[in-house]
């Protein structure tokens, strides 16, 4: 075995096909896209070199600033929301519902398997004010409050989007974190309890540190998923009203494919890649430091 793995030709034969496929479908398009960011034009007129003009435009384009700010804000709020909700649910499963949690787990997990577009339509109907008031506005009406046109302003549409995204994904994080909590040995919990730790103190000093690695994995999952949010926004608000709920991904899509500016679209995609990379690096560093401590 050592002879085979020590032979460079064998390594090439074994790794080659996978590397080739990876290069063709991942690396080549990435480099290609990077190349486009130095051009202007489209497939009808052809592409011409544009130097750094796209990057200059990126710095001064208010729409990019708005989209970047929305993306970061959305990612921050949803990440906290979905990991926190998932963690609380996982604690509920393990310490309160115990073995009876299977049914609740299934029910909470259910939205994860629903198509995003269906969830988007569901929430549109839940929060709508016209042509008929949706359940949320009917409830407000029953309480004697004025109905709210949730999708008429960016502020309220943002919160509907947040609620939808957390509701949709918390079941996934609950199951992920549940797996981490189940792994905590019973003896440790038992001895902590004998030492007088209970409730919040038990969670703070025993459960939280022991489930920290899986909590960190959830955070990385969540940040990566939310920075690249696309389908949920398209289904619920399509970036509107105006462009107030447009994330970078959607702006990149519109620029490239609707406005036919492939070069500038690639530059926006590059910005998104850099942002994702930076955030991942920060989270990665935090995880590594904390893990060595723990």
């Amino acid at each position: 075995m050592h002879r085979v793995l020590g032979d460079r030709r064998a390594i090439l034969i074994l790794l080659g096909p996978a590397l080739l496929v990876y290069s063709l479908i991942m690396l080549v398009p990435m480099v290609w896209s990077l190349g486009y960011s130095f051009t202007k034009g489209n497939s009808i007129d052809g592409f011409t070199g544009n130097g750094l003009a796209n990057f200059e435009r990126l710095l001064t384009d208010p729409a990019v600033h708005e989209a970047l700010w929305f993306t970061l804000k959305f990612s921050f709020v949803v990440t906290i929301g979905q990991v926190l909700a998932g963690y609380l649910l996982a604690l509920l499963y393990v310490f309160h519902l115990k073995r009876a949690s299977a049914l609740v787990r299934t029910l909470v997990f259910f939205p994860v398997v629903l198509p995003t577009v269906a969830v988007g339509l569901l929430f549109q109907n839940l929060f709508q004010v016209a042509p008929q008031p949706g359940p949320v506005n009917s409830l407000l009406g029953a309480l004697g409050l004025e109905p709210v046109d949730w999708f008429a302003s960016g502020g309220t549409a943002f919160w509907v989007l947040i609620v939808m995204e957390i509701w949709r994904s918390m079941g996934f994080y609950a199951v992920l974190l549940f797996a981490g909590l189940v792994d905590i040995p019973d003896e440790v919990l038992e001895s902590a309890r004998l030492d007088g730790a209970s409730g919040l103190r038990l969670v703070r000093h025993i459960v939280l540190p022991l489930s920290f690695p899986v909590l960190m994995s959830s955070l990385i999952f969540s940040i990566n998923g939310t920075l690249k949010i696309f389908d949920a926004v398209v289904a619920l608000t399509n970036g509107g009203p105006g462009s107030s709920t447009t994330p970078l991904t959607l702006y990149m899509f519109q620029t490239s494919f609707t406005y036919g500016e492939y070069g500038y679209g690639s530059t926006i995609a590059l910005l998104l890649t850099v942002v994702s990379l930076l955030v991942s690096l920060v989270v990665f560093r935090l995880t590594r430091r904390d893990l060595t401590k723990g």
Partner: protein
């Protein structure tokens, strides 16, 4: 395994070369720069937007009846693409030099202009004149096409629509409202209707364009037929006071609640339904709505209760009420490369027969002459056909001369203008900024 270093190096080199070669192959395939041979097309292929069913149905009828011989020589083949991904598909096909014989040419005239500049679109004025059928196009439709496409006939007028305000005669009568002819009368009527418990207008804020059309209507009446041409040429800006005033008027309609509640959530179908079920008294729309008006399943107030009025005049304005906003629907054009004798035969046959077949089968008005007399389906259709025949001067719609970006920005912000979350000044500034960037 061999331990001979030379052989190993050679093998590595071979593998590397093979890898590089396949990458290069794939890249060239993706690039699509290879020019294909100019073989004559086997079919009369037609790429249509999925949403538009009229044109393909009428063409199919023609292929079986009047144009059966042309169809035998080059059979009609219809392909569909959702209208929202049409521009994307066309850009890809054009880049690969693989455009169909006939196709819907993009959502904004700007894209068609781009295709034309790169020589992908046939010069229809020249081709139709050569075929001797140029006179089969209605002059009004030709002038609309020329206004849209830089003075060229780039598309065929499969549809010819004018726009105005449809109203519910019964609701008007019950509340003692006369048909308004000026903007002030219109707003007064709207107030009277609202006070009488009827929603004055239904409008699709979700799509946005039905609202910006009202805005351009006001602009054309107050500033005259060149109002938006001046924006394009840079002679005026949307942020000029006279333009902001128009946005203010439309925003005021919303502020007073004339569009009902939650206008941003109202889709085209819902708006149509609100009007045709008697929940709203007025509906700004194009004559393509005649198909829904004539359908008793959708129109529960009865076709005899629907009237049509032109956009009212504005006091002291330069425009007049007989200037109708008009369009030719989603432009459908023909590829330059595949326009040969057999395609020409098809086009000549369409020019001679499309008008009457479309009116008879689908109840829609096209920009082709109706060579076989057809009985009008109802009074509104008759009124609109007469209006089109009498119309001397046409104007365009708000986004007609905008590029795709400004069009998207304008339509996606229209509901915000009407529901007050954006001021008229802000709205015009946003659209003006989008115009600058193209």
């Amino acid at each position: 395994m061999s331990n001979n270093p030379r052989r190993a190096r050679r093998a590595r080199r071979t593998a590397f070369t093979a890898g590089t070669a396949s990458v290069a192959l794939l890249v060239t395939a993706c690039g699509g720069t290879g020019g294909s041979t100019a073989a004559a097309p086997k079919e009369f292929s037609y790429l249509s937007a999925t949403e538009n069913t009229t044109v393909k149905n009428v063409l199919t009828t023609l292929s079986k009846e009047a144009c059966a011989a042309e169809n035998k020589a080059r059979p009609l083949k219809v392909e569909n693409v959702p209208q929202s991904s049409l521009d994307q598909k066309l850009q890809l096909l054009a880049g690969q030099d693989a455009l169909p014989v006939q196709f819907a040419a993009g959502n904004s005239p700007a894209l068609t202009g781009q295709l034309d500049k790169s020589g992908k679109i046939a010069d229809l004025e020249g081709e139709l004149s050569l075929l001797g059928v140029y006179d089969q196009l209605q002059p009004a439709a030709v002038s609309t096409i020329k206004a849209l496409y830089d003075g060229k006939v780039s598309v065929l007028p499969y549809e010819y629509n004018i726009e105005g305000i449809f109203y519910n005669k019964k609701l008007f009568q019950d509340r003692g409202v006369a048909v308004p002819t000026t903007w002030d009368e219109l707003t007064a009527s709207a107030e009277k209707l609202r006070a009488g418990g009827v929603q004055p207008f239904s409008a699709a804020g979700k799509e946005g364009w039905p609202l910006t059309r009202v805005l351009s209507g006001y602009l054309y009446r107050s500033l005259g037929p060149d109002a938006l041409q001046d924006i394009r040429s840079g002679k005026a800006k949307l942020t000029d006071p006279a333009y902001v005033k128009a946005a203010q008027e439309i925003a005021d309609l919303g502020k007073k609640g004339y569009f009902g509640e939650g206008v941003a959530s109202i889709s085209y179908d819902v708006a149509m339904n609100q009007f045709l079920s008697g929940k709203a008294a007025m509906f700004y729309m194009g004559s393509w709505a005649l198909a829904n008006i004539a359908d008793p399943k959708v129109n529960t107030v009865g076709v005899e209760n629907i009237g049509f009025m032109p956009f009212p005049t504005v006091a002291g304005g330069k425009g007049s009420a007989d200037q109708y906003p008009s369009n030719v629907g989603l432009g459908i054009t023909l590829g330059a490369k595949s326009f040969d004798g057999k395609t020409g035969d098809w086009v000549a046959c369409i020019a001679k027969n499309y008008g009457s077949t479309a009116l008879k089968d689908a109840g829609t008005i096209s920009g082709f002459k109706t060579n076989t007399p057809v009985q009008d389906a109802n009074a509104v259709t008759a009124q609109i056909r007469k209006t089109i025949g009498d119309s001397k001067q046409n104007v365009l719609w708000f986004e007609a001369l905008f590029g795709t970006k400004a069009t998207t920005v304008s339509t996606s912000n229209a509901a915000s203008l009407v529901n007050g979350s954006m001021s008229p000044q802000q709205f015009m500034q946003t659209v003006q900024d989008a115009l600058k960037n193209q």
